[in-house]
Amino acid sequence: MKIKLSPSKKNSHSTKVLVVDDDPAITRMIKLNLEGTGEFEVKNVNESPAALAAATDFEPDIILLDVVMPEADGGDIAMQLRSNKKTKRIPILFVSAMVSKKEAQKGLYRSGGEHFLAKPVDTNILQSSIHTILYGSK
């Protein structure tokens, strides 16, 4: 059986996304999926304390931030990013496994002024959520 591959999409790298999650398999999959759309350039960070430096260097348009991480959790990282002159305006999308069914069914939702998306992430919903946060709607 031969597997037919889709022709690869041209990557215009219009939107830069920084993904911070302690699980390398998750960040790798998000990168593959988002870059596979041809619309995103993705940088991954698996050690949360390195997130601020990565954000300063990479200058992403948006940061996808896991909530529960061993060294510094998503809340701590968000505070660091928002207290830094260079990164304070970068929108953050929290991606969390600790979400109720009701919240998860909403797709992108807001809580305490923050944007949230439930794990497991659907690439189409992730893509449209990034559009909504950055441009208001898709």
Binding site: M1, K2, I3, K4, L5, S6, D23, A25, I26, M29, I30, L32, N33, G36, T37, V68, A97, M98, S100, K101, A104, K119, P120, V121, D122, T123
Partner: protein, 321 residues
């Protein structure tokens, strides 16, 4: 005359003429003549029946306390599982996320053959199902306020049967549903009422040790009579003209003993061996039904062996409290 070897502080257990028990604490000495022949007996007895009765009661109370202690430990274990479930959910959802995103990526990169795409879709569907199970666990274990809204209780029954499919299959129990498709809606907290139904179905499963049939029946009717032909609790809760929604969970087990009928809804009352159930299920169920201004009964079936648990709830339009 001499005395033989006596007995001291012996407990004699006897029955009185009326059949009641008698306990005597006795000390006796045989009287012998010069040849050593027993010619009499000298003794003293103290009636200790009351003391023995109290001792027995105390023993039984201590045993009940021991069992209750074990059941409390079981209940505490369940609470702990509830608290742990959030962490478990997190640990399971991360790998699910990898599988899901991996399948999505493959789906986006592969054009065929169709069998491969089918497999990828199956993987995504399986992830979705596993994720739903985690949500159920999270939602079930997380405390929440009452959220009352009109709902069709048939849907809850079907959902509960779906959740307990594995338990029913393992216990070799056949399920019969007799659900009224024109059932009036009921104002309820779906999650709490689901918990009540789960408890009742689990209870029914536990009494059908070698398999059996579980029947779930829903119906609604208008209350037309009051007084002696209607249960006292019903007349307190419902008035003539009220529409009542009924759910019956009918098992084909051995039925209820008199003790079961009297104590089934008492906290920590269980017929299961210690360690298999907390004895809290039916008590929690009754509290949930009470919160919905309804009533619950558990009685033996009149049409054969087994028991019927019936929940009566006011239809949505009738809820006035």
């Amino acid at each position: 005359m001499d005395t033989g070897v006596g007995e001291e502080n012996m407990i004699d257990h006897r029955r009185r003429a009326d059949g009641s028990e008698l306990f005597l604490l006795s000390s006796k000495v045989p009287l012998q003549d010069d040849l050593g022949t027993v010619i009499g007996l000298v003794g003293i007895s103290l009636d200790i029946t009351e003391q023995k009765t109290i001792e027995r009661k105390l023993k039984s109370t201590i045993q009940t306390l021991e069992e209750t202690k074990l059941q409390l430990i079981e209940a505490e274990k369940l609470k702990t599982i509830g608290r742990l479930s959030a962490g478990v959910a997190h640990e399971v959802k991360n790998p699910l996320n990898v599988v899901s995103l991996g399948a999505q990526y493959l789906e986006s990169q592969i054009e065929g053959p169709e069998e491969i795409l089918e497999i990828i879709r199956d993987i995504r569907e399986a992830v979705k199902k596993a994720n739903d199970v985690i949500f159920e666990l999270l939602d079930y274990s997380s405390p929440h306020e009452m959220e009352m809204e009109p709902a069709n209780i048939n849907q809850l029954i079907e959902h509960v049967l779906g959740l307990l499919r594995h338990n029913l299959l393992t216990a070799r129990i056949q399920v019969c549903c007799d659900l009224d498709d024109k059932l009036d809606p009921v104002r309820l907290d779906s999650q709490k009422m689901e918990q009540a139904l789960i408890n009742l179905v689990l209870n029914a499963i536990s009494v059908m040790k070698s398999g059996g049939t579980l029947t779930l029946r829903s119906s609604s009717w208008q209350m037309k009579t009051t007084g002696s032909n209607v249960a006292g609790a019903m007349t307190e809760l419902f008035e003539i003209g009220d529409t009542i929604v009924s759910v019956e969970i009918i098992d084909s087990g051995a039925g209820l003993s008199e003790d079961d009928e009297n104590k089934a809804f008492d906290p920590f009352y269980t017929t299961n061996p210690t360690g298999q159930g907390t004895g809290l299920g039916l008590s929690v169920t009754r509290s949930i039904v009470d919160l919905h201004h309804g009533m619950i009964t558990l009685e033996n079936r009149t049409d054969g062996p087994g028991a019927v648990a019936q929940i009566l709830l006011p239809a949505a339009t009738e809820t006035k409290k």
